[in-house]
Structure formats: C-alpha cells, structure tokens
Amino acid sequence: MYFSKLNSLLIIFVSVIAVLYALPNAVTKFNFNEISTYLPGKKVNLGLDLKGGSYILLQAEMKTSEIEFIDNTANSIRNDLRKEKIRYKGLNSNNGKITFRIRKKELLDRTKNLLEKYQVNFDISYIEDRFILDFSENGRKYLYASTLKKALEIVRRRIDESGTKEPLIQSQGLDRILVQLPGVDDPDRIKRLLGKTAKLSFRFTHPRIETNELTNSSPVPPGYILMNSENDKDVYYLIQKRVMISGEELIDANPGFDQDGNPAVMFALSTLGGKKFGRITGKNIGKPFAIVLDNKVISAPVIQGQIFSNGQITGNFSVQESRDLALVLRAGALPVPLTILEERSVGPGLGKDSIEAGKFASIIAIVVVMIFMLVYYGIYGLFANVSLIMNMIFLISVLTIIQATLTLPGIAGIVLTIGMAVDANVLIFERIREENLLRKNILESIDQGFKRAVSTIVDANLTTFIAAFALFIFGSGPIKGFSVTLMIGLITSMFTAIIITKYQIITYAKRQTRNI
C-alpha cells in the first residue's frame, strides 16, 4: 500500500533513465554524446520500410554444387583405382550415387580399403558385385554448409566493392542468403552483380567450323560445346570443353579501355598462370581464343602475339558493364548460382512519408485518448495520462536500448498500444470505484482495488502476449517489428499502470485525507 522512500527513489531513477534513452529520438538538433560520452546517443533502429532500402532473399542452387562434388569424387575414385591397378567397369555417377564394378573378385578387400576415405561423405555398400556410393545426409550437410559459407564470402566482397554502405548479409537456413541494403532504393545493380556466377575461362574454338555457320541445332563434335554469345542470342560458338586458363588464376581485374578506346577489362594472372598463358598464346598466334563467362562467350579475339601475366578482355561493353565485370572477377566466382526468391524495396520518399504519417497518427491518438480520459475520469484521468506518456517513454527507450527494429507495422503497434495501454488504468479505476461503494475509507478502497485488478491485468495481458509471441516466432521482417513493439508495449503498460499510476493515486489520496 505504501511506497517506501527506497521504492519512490527507484521509480524516479528508472523513469529518469528511460527519459535519457528516449530523448535522442525526439531531439535531432544535436547529439547528446557531444555533451558527455556517458549520455546515451543512440536512436531507434529504423526498418528498411521506413528508412528506405532493399531486402533480397537469395537461394543458392546447391544441386549444381552437389553434382559437381559427386562428379569430382567419381574422378578421384577413377584415379585411385588406376593407381592401385584395379581394373573396373561401368564407373559412373547418377542421381547422387556413384556405382562401379571391379573385374577381379580377389581385389575386393583392397578396393574396400581404398574407398574408406570416402566414408565421410558417402554411404558405401557392396551389392551383387557392384559398389554403390550413396551421397549421405552428413556429406550433403557438410557440402551445403561449406558452399554457403563460400558464397556468403563472395556476396559480401561483391557488395562491399560496389560501395554500398552498411549492408547486412547473413545466411538463412541451409541454402539461403539474406541481403539487406539500407538506403539502396534501386537494387538493380546489386542484383546484376549477384546474378553472375562469374566463372571465367579461356578456351579454344573449333579450328575449322566458322562461327557464322552455327545455329542452335548445329551438330556438336566430341570434346566441344555449343555456346551462346553474351551479346547476341543468335550467335553461337563451338568451344573446346578443355579449359586452357581458368578464372582462378586471376589475381586482379580493373576496368579500362582498349587501344580503340572501347571499354575493356584489364586483368592480371598469377605468376604460374602467366607462364602458362605465355606458353599457350606463344604457340597459337593467329588463332581465336574464346573468353567464356558463365557458359557464354564474351568474345573470341584472335591472338596477336604472346601475352604473359597482363591481358585484357574486350567485348561489347558499356563503361558500367566493364566496371561490373571487373568487380565480379576481382571478388571471385560464386561456388553456385544464386537466384532471387524474394525482394522488397522501398524508396526513400515512401519511407519518409510513412514516418511522417506514423508520427502524426501517434500524436493525434495520444491527444484524443488523453482528452477522453481527462473528461471521463477527471483528476484520475490526469494520472492515467501521465502514465500513458511515461508508457510511451518507456516503450521508446526499451526499443532504443535493445536496438529493436522499428517498422511501419511497428508504428501501428505503438498507436495500438496507446489505445490499449489505458486498459490497465481503466481496470484499476473501475475496481477502485466498485470497492469504494462497499467501503467508506478511500485508501482502503484503493488498496483493495489495486490488489484485485492486478491479477486480472496480468491474466489479460499475458494472453495477448501469447498471440504477439506467436507473431514474433512466425512473422518475418516488418511483421516481426510489429510483434516486438506490441510485446514491449504490453509489458511497459503493465508496469506503468501498476507502479506509476499507483504511485500517483496513493500520493494524491494521502494528501486528500490529510487535508480533511
């Protein structure tokens, strides 16, 4: 019933802290950190829908890396068998499985020993003289994790190099990457940068068949692939399967111009790669040498002379394209292609409008509710209004302290809290009124009213909290922001009603009774 000196001091202390943390959100003129570094200077963290920006959810196409991994394993088994002089037949990989037979049954144990090292990633069985290596759940998990980690690294490098400020890049689940780009309202460039796997290779074209004779139905001789041109859908090349130099040998790439003044990409190879490049170009002067990016031919210039470490890639680039190509080559190739699953972008104009509308709605709501309470409950309404304002301050300070993200639905949550926050006060007042009909002593009525109302308040708010919590668990992005403000609002409104309102009423009632 009575508040001790200590309790009163504690309430005042907590309130002052809350005001200090909430203040930087209201005062934009100067930074409180300039007065003293001990003062809090942080503001509420605004969501992308309020400050503008892009949210992009990417899917890493793991199947590609799975097939690649299994093919590589099949090759390595082939090499092992050859080295051990074990003759085999029908070794192939299909549907996540590698199968083969051995010719001599006597070599069974030796083969089994040899396969032991693949047990980490494969379930190995021997059925009817056939070895079956089945890609295991563990192997898949490990491969996905390491591929995603690599992809994340490359995505980060590409976005950093594009000059985007404060990007948030994180993995989600087994095969997804979430990219959040505050302040970027047109994510097209980023999407283009991430849309390229950027696997680069230099290969020879077919020595006799001319490019202009080719269509998409031309016969393909063994050892060759028919590839589209990057610039022209109707142009095809016959490209050797064998890669002469791969992008992994590249150590640097920069945009520049060729001798005719057209945009080009200058690249530098590693020492080893440079030597190899020199040998190949030296021997093949006069032949076209195709530059292949993600299975498309950028160009196939004729080798003019021997080139070592430093070369250039020419094509039909614009300046921007040459810049972007240099960037993705420099950042490295993605281990798997990425596709966009979900994208949400908000321009800065809309974000600003939303904040304005939200601020306006909050103020109007507070004023309307306060007038209502004042008219209906008189001096007690004033107490409820002080609690309401304190509630807002607590809510904003908690949002600031935990650096929760405030979204547009989150603002709706705040306005809703304004409406619902008075509920606890109303419950208390109504209960006090009832109790006062039974007793004449006002202090006793207040005491009983509070005691009985509190159990109702806790029950009622906890059930609402459950619904908000379900939203928090299953909601995404802005909806999560809504549930966070709602949950915090429920807690702060319980706190303010039970503590702050009580404090005011008791102080007032004591003074009243003393005066009588």
Binding site: L341, E343, A365, M420, E434, A460, A470
Partner: protein, 314 residues
C-alpha cells in the same frame, strides 16, 4: 470520486436473455463467411500467392489516369494485372501475377515493368515474392494463428477451468473467422499485415474475455447461493464500463491509424477495427453464452475455506 459515470454501476442488463439471438446472429455471420469464401474466395496478396507489386508515383505529381495505366500494363503481356489508385491520385499500385516458370522469369518481368514506366513515374516501392517463399509464408501464417489459439487455450485451461478455455477458443475462432470473412466479402487484399491484424484481434478479444471470465470466477466463489446464470449476467454488468471504455479508446486509436496512418496501414486498421468491435461483442455474447452450456461447479460449500482460497488467489 470520478467525474463521469456513463455506465451506471447498478446497471443490470440481462445479456444472456439475448443469447439465442446472439448465437443466431453469429451463426449467420459464420455462414456468410463460409459462403463468401466459397463463392468469392480470398483475395490473397502476393505475400502468399507469389507475384510482383510496384507502387508508382507520377513524375511532377500529374494525376494518373488509371484506365490508361491499366492498358499500358496489360500491353506488357505479363498475365493478370491489377491496377488501383493508392492513397493519392498521383500514386498507383500495380500487382502482377506470378509468372510462368521459375524465379528468373519473375525477376525479368519486374525489370520489364520498371523499364517501361520509368520515364513517367518514380518507383516508390517494389515487392517481389517468389512462389517458394509465398508457400512458406502461407504456412507460417496458418501455423502462427493456430499455434497462438492453441497456446491461449492451454493458458486459459491452466488459469481457469477447461470449460472456460473451450468457451474462449469458441469466441476467438468466431472473431478470426468473421474477420477473414469481411476481407473475402469486401474483396480486400489478404496479406501478411492482415495476418498480424488477425492475431492482434485474437489478442485483444482474449484480453476482453479474460477480464469477464476473471470476474465470473470471482463471483462464482463469492455468491454461492445464486444461480450461475445470474452470476454470469452480474459479471458482465460489473465489467461492462471497463469493456466499453477500453474498446472506445482502442477504437479511437485505430480510427486515427485508418485516417492518418497512410495508405499502407489502411486495410490493417480496418481489420483491427472490425476485430475490436466483434471481439468486444463475442466476449460478452459468445464466450459467456457458451459457458451456460457447461455445468460449472462453484466448488466447496465450506464458506470459511472458500474465503481463504479467495484471499489467497487475490
């Protein structure tokens, strides 16, 4: 001590006299909901269906001719498009259905749209949800609603008796269903924000119900000689002024969001306004009415003992 007393403390309306009318009314609402869902379906937003949404604003704030805009959008051959004015007559909201094919086709369609309109319009917002994510969001939304109903059921069961928790869930499901029905009937877009509104409605409605139930429980212990039905009515009347005042202040805040919160929040606020009204109604007429169909014991006849329990509980 209080200045006003709009709802008198001595009020004694026999709410439960109207229980069959109320149940009939709710039954009609539910029938309308299901027939509307059956015939109209639910206008699922791109969050759940997958697709593209772009908000445009005309450059130099020219008034947009919506039908011309629609014609232009249709000429791009992207399948079903919906065009509507959004908040202001310079703003347009364009929705394009999920494109045939995979994620790549969706992104291409988005680029096509941007390039086509970029000379005359600025893009305020773009949203693209791929088919996979749409399916996942749908699942998450349904799970969230069902899970919260289940958790509330458990909580009420734990704090009250099982009869109360059945009655509460009955009322809650009624609120959630009719809100969905409203959106189906008015053909408003049902998206993630509306799921949030549904859950908040559920939270608000259960809040109301719990307050009344709390009083029912207390009065059941206090007035042992009275009939249950009298106690129910008394409890509703005693909590009525609180119910009305809280609903009023919440509605005030919601109307403010509806009129001043911007176009994005309009449907959300509408769902909540309906939710608060129906939630208040259902707490009284559905939740408490449902209680009358159960036999609820008042506990031990030993007055001293029950009194001490009462003291302890409070």
């Amino acid at each position: 001590m209080f200045r006003f007393n709009i709802i008198s403390q001595n009020l004694n309306i026999e709410f439960l006299k109207f229980k069959f009318f109320a149940l009939l009314f709710s039954l009609i609402l539910i029938i309308i909901t299901f027939s509307s869902l059956f015939f109209n379906g639910l206008n699922l937003g791109i969050d759940f269906k997958g697709g593209i949404l772009v908000e445009f604003r005309s450059i130099e704030n020219k008034v947009v001719n919506i039908s011309d805009f629609r014609k232009d959008a249709k000429s791009l051959d992207l399948g079903e498009v919906s065009v509507q004015e959004f908040g202001k007559n310079t703003d347009v909201l364009l929705r394009v259905q999920k494109q045939e094919g995979g994620n790549k086709e969706q992104v291409e369609a988005l680029n096509k749209l941007k390039n086509f309109f970029k000379d005359e319009y600025t893009i305020r917002r773009t949203e693209f949800v791929g088919p996979v994510v749409g399916e996942e969001l749908k699942e998450a939304g349904i799970t969230a609603v069902l899970l919260s109903l289940f958790l509330i059921l458990i909580y009420i069961w734990f704090r009250f008796e099982w009869q109360f928790s059945i009655a509460a869930i009955f009322a809650l499901s009624h609120d959630v269903l009719t809100t969905i029905g409203l959106f189906s009937l008015l053909n408003l877009e049902f998206n993630l924000a509306i799921v949030a509104a549904l859950l908040t409605t559920a939270g608000y409605s259960i809040n109301d119900t719990v307050v009344v139930f709390d009083r029912v429980r207390e009065n059941l212990r206090r007035y042992k000689s009275q009939q249950n039905i009298v106690i129910y009515n008394r409890s509703i009347n005693e909590t009525l002024s609180r119910t009305v005042i809280t609903s009023l202040t919440t509605l005030l805040a919601l109307f403010v969001i509806y009129f001043f919160g911007g176009a994005v929040l309009k449907d959300f606020a509408l769902a909540m306004i309906w939710g608060v009204v129906i939630g208040t109604y259902s707490s009284i007429f559905i939740a408490v009415s449902s209680l009358t169909f159960f036999k609820i014991y008042k506990g031990s006849e030993d007055k001293e003992k029950s009194k001490s329990v009462l003291e302890h509980e409070l």
